[in-house]
Symmetry: C2
Subunit: 534 residues, 2 copies
C-alpha cells in the first residue's frame, strides 16, 4: 500500500484537540498520522512519497451539501457568450464548441447580447456557417429571445408560412423568411423539439462538473434528484454508471425524488444504502417556492403585499408524507425557504417521530432561509440538519430586505441556529449560484458581496467565524451523511480527503477568502485534482 | 490498526501461484502478507496478535450463493421435536422455548410423531400447561396434522360448535370439545389467523441464521428475496436494519423480487449498488417449478408421463422481462430447474444482449439442474453464472433417476459446465436443504450420500475435485458478485475473510468432508465466530 507524507505547511485538521499540525501521513486511503514532522515521518517510513507544501495550507476536503451536479455540468457544457463584445469572436467560439460535440447533439448556448454587437441581431445564416450539421439554439442573456440555425428551424417546422404564435414573434427578413431569431413564446416552437440530453452528454456533463468541484477542494457532494419528477431517476443512473466504470472520483450522497416514495417503500430501500463513494440519501420534497418569485411560504404577508406565498406541499400532506417516509426508514430532505414552510416541515418531523423507524441519516431542511425565532431551537431538538447555502444570503439580501423587511434579522440565521445547537451543512445550490465553496465561505464570514457591500456586513451578528464556516462545509455535511467518523476532519483512521490550497485562509483578510481554490485535491488518499499538472 | 498473524498450519489460498502457505498476516480488514513464517512474521511486526493454528487448516471464507437466510432462521426458531420419543421431554422443550419468545408471539414447532409416544395424540390441555399465555401451533412430522393450544383455537374461533371443514377434521373428545389436533384442511382454520413474523422476530431469526452460517466458515451470502412477492421486501429491510446498527457480521448480496422490476426502474436502482457488506444483486425470476412436483419445465415428457412440467414465465415473457431488466442495468437471477426452462433463460439473455446496459453483475441461472447438452457451452458464451446447490444432487438423485431417466447424464452437470468454461457458484438453498457447505462439498466431490450411496458415486464423471468444489464455494460466487478482486482467495490486498477448520480437507478421505466445520471464522479481519469461546 502506498504511503504519502505531506509536510512543510499549516495543516488545519478541524480536530479541536490539535487544530493545526505541520505534517500528515497517509497509507492507502486513510490518514495514519498527524502532528509534527519528526513523528509523522517516523510513522510514514522512509519509503513514503513526499508532498512538500512549501508553506501552502491544507484543509479537510469540503462537502457541497446541495448541488445539482448534472444540471450544473449540462449548463457548463453550453456555449457561454456572456460579455462577448465581438460577433466574429462569438461565432468562432460557437464553431469550436460545435466541433467538440458528439454527432447529432444539439449545440446549446446562452449569454449573448446583440447590443454589444452594434445592435445588429445575429442571424441563422451566420450560425449555419459555423454550425451547419447540427441544430443550434442560443438564449439571449435575458432569456427572452433565442438564436437558432436553419437545422433547428427545420426540426421545429418553422418556415416563412408559420404564423407568429400568440405572445411571440418569428423575426423575418424582407422576403418573409425566418432570420433565426425567435422572441418570447415563439421560442417554445424550438424548445419543444429539443431532445433531452443523451446519457453520453449527461455523463460528460457530470465528469466536467465533478472536475470543477475537485478544483475547489470539494471531496463530496450531496445531490438532489432531478427537480422535475418526470425527468426520472437520471442523476442516480448517471452516478451509478460512473461508479461502475471506476470513474467516480468524488463521494456522493444521492437523494431520491419525492414522487418516488412508493417505489422505495415497495423495494424496501432505506436511506443510507451504499458505500463511501455512492450512497442513497433521503427523499427530496418541496414545502414551498422561492423568494424571487414570492412563492416562499411566509407566516405573514410579504412587505407591501397581501399574500404569503405558496405551500407547495400543504402542512397536512407534508405530515402524511414525512410520517410515511420516516416509518419506512427513509429520511426527508425538504426544500423550505419561508418561515411558514420551515415550520410546516418541523411540525411534520415532530409528528412523524412516534412511528419513525430508526433512521440511518437525519432528516434535513434545505435552504432554511427565513425562520420564525421560535422555530430556531427546534432544529436541534428534532435532530434536523439545517442545510444552507451562504451565497444565497449575499446574492439575495437586497431582495430579501425589500420583501421580508425587518424579519430579515432571522434570515440566513447561521449564528442563531448554531448557537441553538443546530448542525449547519453548507452548500452551493449550483447551478443556481456558483459551486465555488470559497465564495460561500466568504459570504458566511463577511455577509458582504465581494465588492464589500454592505459596509460591516448585512446583519453582521449572524456571521460565522472562518473555523465555523469551514466546519459547516467539512463536518456538518458528514453529520447529515452519517459519515462523520470516517471523513470531514484530518484525524488518524479517517479517509485522506483533503485539499492543498493556494493560500492560507487563516492568514489572509477575510475579504479575500473567495480567492482561494485547491492546488491539489485528494480523495481517499488518491490525488484526483492537481492544478500544476493541468 | 490491529495486526494479526496466523501461522503453524496449512493455509489453502486458492491462489494458483502459491496454493498452500504456512503463515498469513492481516492488518485492519485486509491480508498484508502470505508465505512462509519468517517473512510473514517480518511483515506483521513484533506487535502482531498471534493465532497459532496448531496444525489446523485455513481456507478462504466460503459464500453460500443461494440461501433464504431469514426463512432459514425462522424455521430454526421453531421448536423442533424431530425424533423426540418422550412426551414429557417434548413438553419441557416447548415450555423452555415459550419462555424465550417475545410477548404475544406465536409458538411454532414441527417434527413431533405421536407414534413414538405410544400412539397417544398430544392434547391442547397439555400444551396449555407449558404454553398458557400465547398461541401455539406445532406441525406433525408429515405436515398433515397440527397440534394447537386453547389460545390458538380461540383466536381461530374453533369451538365444539365448529363443523369439520371439507377434507379435514377437528379432533374432539367425548364431550365434543376440540382436543387440539387438527387434521388436513382443518389446519387452515388456525394458519389463517397466524400473523406474519414481526420485525423483531425476523431480525432475531436473521441473527441466528447468520451465526449458523459463520459456524461453517461461510463469510458471505447471496440472498433471494421473499419467494412470495406479496411478502414484500422484508428480507432487504431486515438486512439494512442489521447493517445500520452495525450488527451485520457477514457480507450479503441481496436480490430484488421479480415483481419489483418497475419500482427499481422508476428509482434508477441498478444491480451492484451498496458496499462490501450489503449490496443489491439482480432480479429474481422463476422460469419453472420443481423436480419433486414434476413442474420443472422439460423439453421432453417426464419418464412414464405425458407432460413436460410448467413454464412459470413462458419464453416470450421471459425475453421481455430480461430485456427490460438488462436494458436498465439490472441483472437477472433466474430459477430454472428443467432443461426447457434453462434454455428459455439462455435464449432470453441472448436476446437481451443487443439493448443491455453495461451490467455491474453478470446474469445468472439458479439451480440449472438438468441441461440439454447443446446448452452447456452457452453459459460461458453468454457470461451466465451457473448457481447450483450440490446437495440437491444427492438428495434428489433417486427421484431424478425415476423422472428424468437417461437424461440424468447431464443433470447437476458440474464437470461438464466447468469444462465448457462456465463459472460455478455453489450454495445450499437452505432451508430447503441444510445450509452446511461441507455437506455440499461432500456431495460435489463424491456424488454420494453420507452413507456412501451409490457405490462409486452417481454419474461420477460429473464429480469435482476438492479444489474445484472449494473454488465453486469461494471464487465462483465472487465472480457472480463482481468482488473477486477483493475476496474469495487469500492474497495480499484482499479482505481477510477466512475460516480455520476442525480438520484438513486435503488430508482426509473425501467421504468425511461433511464432518468439517469452522473453529474460527473471520470477516474483514474481525473474528466473528470462535467455537472455543462459545
Amino acid at each position: 500500500m502506498k504511503t504519502i507524507m505531506i509536510y512543510n505547511g499549516p495543516i488545519y485538521t478541524l480536530d479541536s484537540k490539535q487544530p493545526v499540525v505541520r505534517a500528515l501521513a497517509i497509507r492507502g486511503e486513510r490518514i495514519i498520522a498527524v502532528g509534527n514532522e519528526g513523528p509523522v515521518r517516523a510513522a510514514a517510513g522512509s519509503q513514503a512519497e513526499l508532498i512538500d507544501l512549501q508553506g501552502r495550507a491544507v484543509v479537510p476536503g469540503l462537502t457541497d451539501a446541495h448541488v445539482h451536479i448534472v444540471l450544473h455540468g449540462l449548463a457548463r457544457q453550453q456555449v457561454r457568450l456572456t460579455g462577448c463584445a465581438d460577433y466574429a469572436a462569438a461565432l468562432d467560439h460557437i464553431a469550436t464548441a460545435a466541433q467538440r460535440l458528439p454527432a447529432g447533439a444539439w449545440l446549446r448556448g446562452n449569454g449573448w447580447d446583440h447590443t454589444l454587437w452594434g445592435g445588429h441581431w445575429p442571424t441563422r445564416t451566420d450560425l449555419d456557417r459555423v454550425c451547419p450539421d447540427r441544430p443550434a439554439m442560443l438564449s439571449r442573456k435575458d432569456g427572452h429571445s433565442l438564436w437558432v440555425n436553419s437545422r433547428a428551424l427545420e426540426l421545429a417546422g418553422i418556415t416563412a408560412a408559420t404564423p407568429d404564435p400568440a405572445g411571440g414573434q418569428i423575426q423575418r427578413d424582407d422576403q418573409g423568411e425566418p432570420t433565426g431569431i425567435l422572441l418570447e413564446t415563439a421560442m417554445e416552437l424550438v424548445r419543444a423539439v429539443v431532445p433531452p440530453p443523451t446519457r453520453a452528454e449527461r455523463i460528460a456533463a457530470l465528469r466536467l462538473a465533478i472536475d470543477e468541484a475537485l478544483s475547489y477542494g470539494l471531496t463530496a457532494l450531496h445531490v438532489p434528484p432531478a427537480t422535475n419528477p418526470t425527468d426520472g431517476p437520471d442523476t442516480l443512473i448517471d452516478l451509478q454508471t460512473l461508479y461502475h466504470t471506476g470513474d467516480l472520483t468524488i463521494r456522493v450522497l444521492a437523494h431520491l425524488a419525492g414522487a418516488h416514495l412508493d417505489h422505495a417503500i415497495a423495494l424496501g430501500l432505506r436511506s443510507g444504502l451504499g458505500d463511501d463513494w455512492l450512497r442513497i440519501g433521503g427523499l427530496k420534497l418541496f414545502a414551498d417556492g422561492s423568494l424571487g418569485s414570492e412563492s416562499a411560504h411566509m407566516l405573514l404577508p410579504y412587505e407591501g403585499r397581501d399574500h404569503t406565498g405558496i405551500a407547495v406541499i400543504p402542512p397536512a400532506e407534508m405530515q402524511e408524507i414525512v410520517t410515511r417516509a420516516n416509518a419506512h426508514g427513509i429520511s426527508v430532505v425538504v426544500h423550505a425557504i419561508g418561515d411558514a414552510a420551515n415550520r410546516s416541515v418541523l411540525d411534520a418531523i415532530a409528528a412523524a417521530r412516534a412511528t419513525a423507524a430508526s433512521l440511518a441519516l437525519p432528516n434535513r431542511i434545505e435552504h432554511c432561509q427565513i425562520l420564525d425565532p421560535h422555530d430556531i431551537p427546534r432544529f436541534a431538538e428534532l435532530n434536523v440538519i439545517a442545510s444552507m447555502q451562504p451565497i444565497h444570503c449575499t446574492a439575495d439580501m437586497v431582495m430579501a430586505e425589500r420583501l421580508w423587511g425587518k424579519r430579515c434579522a432571522t434570515s440566513y440565521a447561521w449564528r442563531s441556529l448554531r448557537a441553538a445547537g443546530a448542525t449547519l451543512a453548507f452548500g452551493s445550490d449550483a447551478p443556481v449560484e456558483t459551486m465555488d465553496p470559497w465564495a460561500g465561505i466568504h459570504a458566511a464570514v463577511t455577509r458582504q458581496t465581494t465588492d464589500g457591500t454592505p459596509d460591516g456586513g448585512w446583519y453582521p451578528e449572524q456571521r460565522l467565524t472562518l473555523t465555523e464556516a469551514l466546519e459547516a462545509y467539512c463536518i456538518g455535511p458528514t453529520i447529515a451523511g452519517a459519515d462523520a467518523e470516517r471523513r470531514g476532519r484530518l484525524i488518524p483512521g479517517m479517509f485522506a480527503d483533503l485539499a492543498v490550497l493556494n493560500g492560507d485562509p487563516f492568514q489572509m483578510p477575510v475579504t479575500h477568502l473567495h480567492t482561494l481554490h485547491a492546488e491539489l485535491t485528494m480523495v481517499g488518499g488518491k490525488i484526483v485534482f492537481n492544478r500544476t499538472s493541468r
